[in-house]
Every structure is written in C-alpha cells, then in structure tokens.
Symmetry: C2
C-alpha cells in the first residue's frame, strides 16, 4: 500500500498522520513541542516503521515559521527567526529527510492548509488566488497561486503589518515582540488573552471583545484582498471557533470595502467568499499529506 | 516590418506608441483624456494607418481602473467603477479591438508597468513575485507572478487599505471618496495637494511633507511585502520624482519591519530591493507594448 505522511509542526504540538489519502488514514499521533531534538526524534520514530516497510512514499511538513523555503539556500528547510525558545535555526526538513530517507515536501503551516483546502475539495481548485488565514496563537496567511504555494523573498507573513489602532478605544499595546500592535499583535489569540486576562474561549458571548476582534480581522483581510485579489479566503484557527465571529468579520469586510471593488464577492455574496475551513482543524496536517502526494 | 502598439490610458492623458520594441519606436503621441468617445477615436486614428498596412501585429492597453479582466465576463475589457467622470462602464478593450482588428492585450496600468520592467530588463525576469507601485494622482500596485500579471477576483487594488493614521499629527481626513484615509487617500499626489494646498513639485524640500509621505508609503509597502513576499518592488509615479523621497521610504520600511523577516533585502540591501523604474515614466506604455508582443 502506498502511504503518505503529514506533519503539522506547531508551537505547542506536532500532529503526525499516515494514510493513503485524507479519507483513508492509518495512524495519527500528537507530540508536545519540547526541544527540537526530542520532538523530531518522536516524529521520526512515528514514521520509521512505514519508511522501513517501503510503504511510505513521501512526507509533507507544514511548519510554523518563519521558514527558509529557497531550495538554493544553505539553510533550506530551516525554521529561522522564530521567537519560539530553542527553535531558532532548526533544520527541520533536513533532520526528517535524513532519518526517513523519503522525499519530503516542506512549507508553512498556512500554505499547507491553503493547499489542502484546495487539494481535498475539488470545488475549490479553480479559485485562484486561494487563501487560508489562521487566527490562533499567531496570525498567518497561506497563499496558493496557479496551483502552487506562494514563495518569493520567503513566504507571506501577513500577520505583521500595522493596522489603524484607536488607542482611546483600545489602549492595549499589542503582543508582537517585533511590531507591537501589528495585526498579530492586536488580534491573535495571545493578544486577546493578554488584553482581557482570559482565554478566547472564556470570553464567549462578550460583545465588546468580539466586535473589536472582528474589526481588526476585517482591516487585515481588506489589506490581503486589496493586495492579492483572492477568489476565496478560508479563515481558520482556534479563535475562529468563537460563535458568530465569522459573520461579524464578513459584515465588517463588506462595510470597510464600501463597494469599491464592485464585486458581489465582497458584497452580498460575502458568506461564500470568506468561509471556515472545510477540513476544520485538520487543514494543516491534511495539507501536509497533500503536499507529500504532489512532491 | 512587424510593429506593436502600446496605449497607456491615464486619467489625464492617453500615451500611444508604435514600435518594433522598446528601443525601436516609430511614433509617439499623447491625447488628453476627454470623453471616452473622443479619446478612443483619437487613439484609434493614431494606430489605424499601421493596422491598414498590415504592420500592426498587436496592441497592448495599460489602463487606469478598476477594470474587468475576466475573459469570461460579458463586460471583459471595461473600465468599471472608476470615479473618473464619464468613464464608468467604458468598453475600452472592445472599442479598440473592433476598430483596429488586431489582437489586443488588456491590463491595468500598474500590471503593465510591472510586466514592462521585467520584460525589457532581462536581469529582472528571475525576480518573482515582481511588483510595481505607482504613487501619482492615485496609488496602485501591479503584480507579476510566474511571469504573468496577477488577476484573481479582479486585480490588485493596493491603494485602498487602511493605515495607522495619527490624527493629532496629521488631521487631514484623506481624499478617497470610498475610504477617506486609505493609503491612496493619505499619500497620493491628490492627497498631498489637498493637505498642503500646493502641488507635490511646489513642496520640494519641505521636510515635514516628505517625512509624513515616506511614513505612509512605508506602511503601505510593509503590507504589500508581508502579503506577497515580493523579490523586488519598483516604485514610480510623479510623486516619487521628489528628490530624497525614495531613500526616506527605504529607511522607514527597514525600520518598520524591524528585522522580522531576517532577510538582507529588507535590511542592509534595501537600496536594491525598492528601486525607481528603469524605464522611468515610460514603464506603463512600454509595458503595454510588452503585453502586445506576448499577446
């Protein structure tokens, strides 16, 4: 049997799956993100039996970043300037490739999630560009153009631009160690928790919290739409599980765009334009398997 | 002789050129932008002799927008929701194609300029994504990815997202009829003139003007870089002729990014990353000719 591996490398856990495809998974396991050495060891132990039996055809990695995605770079496949303690300059691709000896596809968690949402949902494949935004511990955007993840200077880092910040209404300074009140600094799960002193889940139903959050996310989405002219934006991550948040965000995007683009997508058809992930919280790891299948 | 036509359709004038390539131009003329009927008539009269002789192989149009670039749309090739009086829903592509009876390539002025800066400058061709930002009457961004202009829902409209706006420092409300103080609303040539009561050229050397301008442009560029991870940004348009403005912008971009991306391009090598157009003010019309050559 031809099997593919998927690894979603996150700041708190690594999710590993093996399967023939998204509907035929053989095994799944989660490992807490400790040191690179220990975590990568556990991940490779998980896949090694399948590699040894010859069934494991390829592995895909969907990783937190920033990453070096330039195949010509001496540090290709590294996690680079991450603020995550102990993980700066970690050769994630190289370690896994060396130990498993199968082709390894490597990309950001959000590029993989975007790729997965297109690959496993054939109705999404004609949408170009196709975007996945995660609103979790951090905020990131994955971009698929012409069927392939967007690389360039590096990859999208669309949580890190500045937004209009009304200090009187929201005197919170933001949590980004690099930029303070950038999109991630104001609207990530970490920002919500630091601002209100409670986790997003504990703040359910508090209108002031979610009106503010929707406003920031909408401002971020407007940027992304204006720059990329995407045909669809999937928006996932833990924070988006808040009931009602998606429709608040949709309404704010339509309001802020104010009819300028003259398209129904950012008007009366916004509910089909900004959507939750069809693959739910598995978008990342199933995206990694999709990357492996096309590696 | 095989000739190609280029039309830069602007809000104040239409620039028309015929030539074998960028270095072998045969004829050039400018027509003021009056009514669509009159302007398009003059443009087609300019090209008609070359069309009739059979030398005119194709024409490229680089137009102000927003545009309908979807070939399957009944209004493909139209200028759509423009605030320019008399030009809403103008079938620019169709009129020119009908009268000249040669293949016509059609894109935004900024997509064409970006395409031209790559096409005529072979050293730029490997840079992907490659961007052209114009800072003139309005602000727009053209995007080339995988060698082709970015289309999607429509095209980039990267002058129309909101920026941090310090109302105390700059109590100016912005000039965008749709969004007030978006990037274009705060930093376009029209905004500068409305804020200070004098044209950009008349404000030469006034540090307060250009510090403020550079700050807004840098905030806009940070967005664009974070979302597209471009390998180069060319920045042109009338406002960028201000001496010293480019280096102010470069410095502010590096400062705002604060080392986050970990790349030299947005650090010590910023002078080669954000550059003025190699084709100068002819980037748009020569880009239109490049589009015609590849049509």
């Amino acid at each position: 049997m031809k099997l593919f591996g998927g690894i979603e490398a996150g700041g708190t856990k690594f999710v590993c799956m093996v399967g023939a495809d998204a509907d035929n998974l053989v095994k799944e396991e989660r490992f807490p993100t400790t040191t690179p050495r220990e975590t990568i060891h556990k991940v490779t132990e998980f896949f090694l039996p399948y590699a040894k039996s010859g069934e494991l055809t390829a592995v895909g990695i969907a990783s937190f970043g920033p990453l070096d995605l330039n195949p010509d770079s001496p540090t290709y496949g590294y996690i680079t300037t991450t603020p995550k303690a102990g993980w700066k300059q970690t050769d994630l691709y190289g370690e896994i490739h060396r130990r498993l000896q199968v082709p390894v596809a490597f990309d950001t968690d959000v590029n993989a999630a975007a790729f997965g949402e297109q690959y496993w949902m054939p109705e999404n494949r004609s949408l170009d560009p196709f975007l996945y935004m995660t609103v979790g511990t951090g905020i990131g955007v994955g971009v698929i153009i012409n069927g392939a993840p967007l690389h360039g200077l590096m990859h999208a880092e669309a949580g890190h631009f500045a937004l209009p910040h009304d200090w009187q209404r929201d005197p919170f300074a933001g949590v980004c160690p690099y930029h303070g009140d950038c999109l991630e600094g104001l609207a990530s799960g970490r920002a919500i928790e630091a601002r209100w002193g409670r986790s997003p889940a504990e703040l359910e139903g508090d209108d002031a919290v979610w009106e503010l959050e929707a406003g920031y996310l909408a401002l971020g989405l407007i940027c992304v739409i204006c720059v990329l002219s995407s045909e669809r934006i999937v928006i996932g991550g833990g924070v988006m599980k808040q009931p009602g948040l998606l429709s608040l965000v949709q309404r704010r995007v339509t309001g802020l765009m104010n009819g300028y683009l003259g398209t129904k997508a950012v008007g009366e058809e916004i509910a089909g334009y900004i959507t939750l992930p069809a693959l739910g919280s598995k978008a990342g790891v199933l995206g990694a398997i999709a990357l492996a299948e096309t590696a």
